[in-house]
């Protein structure tokens, strides 16, 4: 399940959008014990000014991203806008039966987007 992308172009400001990955959907539900799925989320949106100068409590902007947004505002043809990408990520753990019927707990870093930022 994903939050529908806004129209054809990445509309709205750069922010986290909901994306839920269901293990049942990919047919793993028989051997994945837990979780049933996880909120992976994704980033989408414009990185024009002032979004690039993210507000209080958001991810601190990278100077380079601000520079690019300024360049784009001054000369739209030069180099394009910064990209809206994951800026802070979280791990998940998966509990499952492996092919030898062992119960296995695997830990994966950087699987969930907590925050997006312009880079």
């Amino acid at each position: 399940e994903a939050e529908p992308a806004v129209g054809g172009s990445p509309g709205g400001t750069c922010r986290t959008r909901r994306l839920y990955v269901s293990f049942r959907e990919v047919g793993w539900h028989r051997w994945v014990i837990a979780p049933r799925g996880f909120l992976a989320n994704y980033c989408q949106g414009q990185c024009a000014l002032p979004a690039t100068l993210s507000g209080p409590g958001g991810t601190p902007p990278l100077n380079h991203a601000v520079l690019r947004a300024l360049m784009h505002a001054a000369a739209p043809g030069a180099g394009g806008l910064p990209c809206c990408v994951p800026a802070r990520l979280s791990p998940i753990s998966v509990l499952f039966f492996d092919n030898s019927d062992n119960v296995v707990l695997r830990h994966y870093e950087d699987m969930v987007v907590d925050e997006c930022g312009c880079r």
Binding site: V26, G27, W28, R30, W31, I33, A34, P35, F38, L39, R88, S90, P91, I92, S93, V94, L95, F96, F97, D98, N99, S100, D101, N102, V103, V104, L105, R106, H107, Y108, E109, D110, V112, D114
Partner: protein
């Protein structure tokens, strides 16, 4: 030569998660050991709904580390004994004549790149209590050969709780990869003449660190 067909999305995701890309369908149902549930709940922030990088108790989770067991690791396996699942009842014998059991653990799922950081043998016995306690001895056993060297001896005051023995550094060298299979001979002798115990269950809790899943950034954070 024709290039291999690109994997479908599910196979690609399995590959990205370093999981065996062919899973043979429904596994043999068996209860999930409580220790594995506990480790999962302790580790998975989404399960505990408390946000990233914190445990339900509020402590910060270190990447590539199994807090509850206090070792580095990102894969924990609960491996059941593959020996003779049904043991013939052992005749009660005099002290010193108790039977030996052979337990076999299939470690073929552990990849060479994984570095073991903990290998805890867990044994459940059934027996009448013996105030003086027991002595457990663990020997390397090879198929069809006599007893190998004694790997460790351990005093067991009571059989009321699971008996645990740390095998890392005893059953195989601490810095070596896990063997593909581990075959052990166990003997549990009462310290004073008493009826022998019965081995009800044997399992191995193996913690490994797969550096390929441990991002440098995560390590830096640590």
């Amino acid at each position: 030569a024709r290039a291999p067909a690109p994997p479908g999305p599910a196979a690609a995701l399995l590959q990205a998660l370093w999981l065996p890309n062919v899973h043979r369908g429904a596994p043999t149902p068996r209860p999930v050991p409580p220790v594995m549930w506990r480790l999962f709940r302790h580790r998975d922030p989404q399960e505990a709904r408390v946000g990233p990088r914190r445990t339900p108790q509020g402590t910060t989770l270190r990447p590539c580390h199994v807090e509850e067991l206090g070792v580095a690791g990102n894969i924990v396996r609960h491996i059941p004994d593959r020996g003779a699942p049904t043991r013939p009842p052992e005749p009660a014998r005099a002290a010193g004549q108790c039977p030996e059991w052979t337990v076999v653990f299939d470690l073929s799922a552990v990849e060479p790149a994984e570095r073991p950081s903990r290998a805890r043998l867990e044994l459940r016995f059934a027996a009448a209590e013996v105030p003086a306690g027991w002595e457990l001895s663990i020997t390397q056993a090879a198929e069809g050969e006599g007893a190998g060297p004694v790997l460790l001896r351990q005093a067991v005051p009571t059989l009321g709780t699971p008996v645990r023995a740390e095998l890392l550094g005893a059953a195989w060298p601490r810095n070596a990869s896990a063997p593909r299979s581990l075959r052990l001979a166990l003997a549990l002798r009462p310290r004073v003449p008493a009826a022998c115990a019965h081995l009800a269950e044997a399992s191995l809790l193996l913690v490994t660190l797969d550096p390929r899943l441990c991002h440098p950034l995560a390590r830096l954070r640590r």
